[in-house]
Symmetry: C2
Subunit: 209 residues, 2 copies
Amino acid sequence: MSGEIKRRGLMLVLSSPSGAGKTTLSRKLLESDPGIVMSVSATTRARRPNEVDGKDYHFVTPAKFEEMVKADAFFEHATVFEHRYGTPKKPVTQTLAAGGDVLFDIDWQGTQQLGEKARDDVVSVFILPPSHDELERRLRTRAQDTDEIVAKRMAKAGSEISHWPEYDYVVVNRDVDRALAQIKSILDAERARRTRLIGVGDFVAGLTK
Amino acid sequence: MSGEIKRRGLMLVLSSPSGAGKTTLSRKLLESDPGIVMSVSATTRARRPNEVDGKDYHFVTPAKFEEMVKADAFFEHATVFEHRYGTPKKPVTQTLAAGGDVLFDIDWQGTQQLGEKARDDVVSVFILPPSHDELERRLRTRAQDTDEIVAKRMAKAGSEISHWPEYDYVVVNRDVDRALAQIKSILDAERARRTRLIGVGDFVAGLTK
């Protein structure tokens, strides 16, 4: 009898500048596909009242975080405004081994680190805003924002966007449903990638003997 | 103003042993997606009454075929039962340059030749039958087929199937609608692959300046 084809999970990375709609796309993807879960980061910053430990973040002490860094327990980590953030390896590798997929909402620096440690498992997607005007509109979040503040945000977005050539796929978010469909296609396709499949040899041997 | 993102077309190769349902999947894909066209092979064999020159095949003389081989005008070519078959380069490269995709129904040998000449444009999918019994059922096309004939067809299928590791994707055709959806996802995803996109740099430059 032929064996069953299984597969190793994949790490789907969505990156984009602020204002490209990534948070909405991540949420909708998670809602529509039970086979993929969000990666939960560890952080040293204090828990906010609306946050749940283990769901929004794993809240850890600076000492514990440093211990994990030394034990090479993170796929990637960074310091932002004196707080440390990192992606613990263990829950991700367990999910992948069980054939589940993990979603990452990280920037280009995190993506680079992830790629160094787990290139074969990473599928990276860069999401672009549809136009200059739309990006500016989304970055001008409050009516009283000065042109100077908006210009600063545009410059920051420009710096982030410059890393698009480091990604496997590029999706322009003109329409959220179309962009979501494209991300779902990428996930569906990458699940059928030969190098991720396990047991094809046995399955195939059983087909004709 | 930001430029427009265009893309280079891709060459989608579907291969499978007889009895895996490839012909049905190809037809349904072509019917459902106007952005992809079937590659039309050239052949030296005689036209059958129901065939249309330029649609089913380009019917050419042996001398013309040989001339095209010498001019390196084929992506791949082969001889089957003394007749020659080949994929002319020109219509394919024109379609790709215009952003259109081309579907190829070729075997592993053709796929290898295509890969040598146009690796970056090729996306290859190997379609597997769901089980030994189902494959045998499909290969036993007539009630009077002897077990010996069916065993011969199974052996031939086994030899073809052994080339699955040379493909980018593997799809098991358990259910034709699911297999079709998976092939459509592969096509949709590969259309968003960064390396196929043209003009992203200009588009991105226009986003933030």
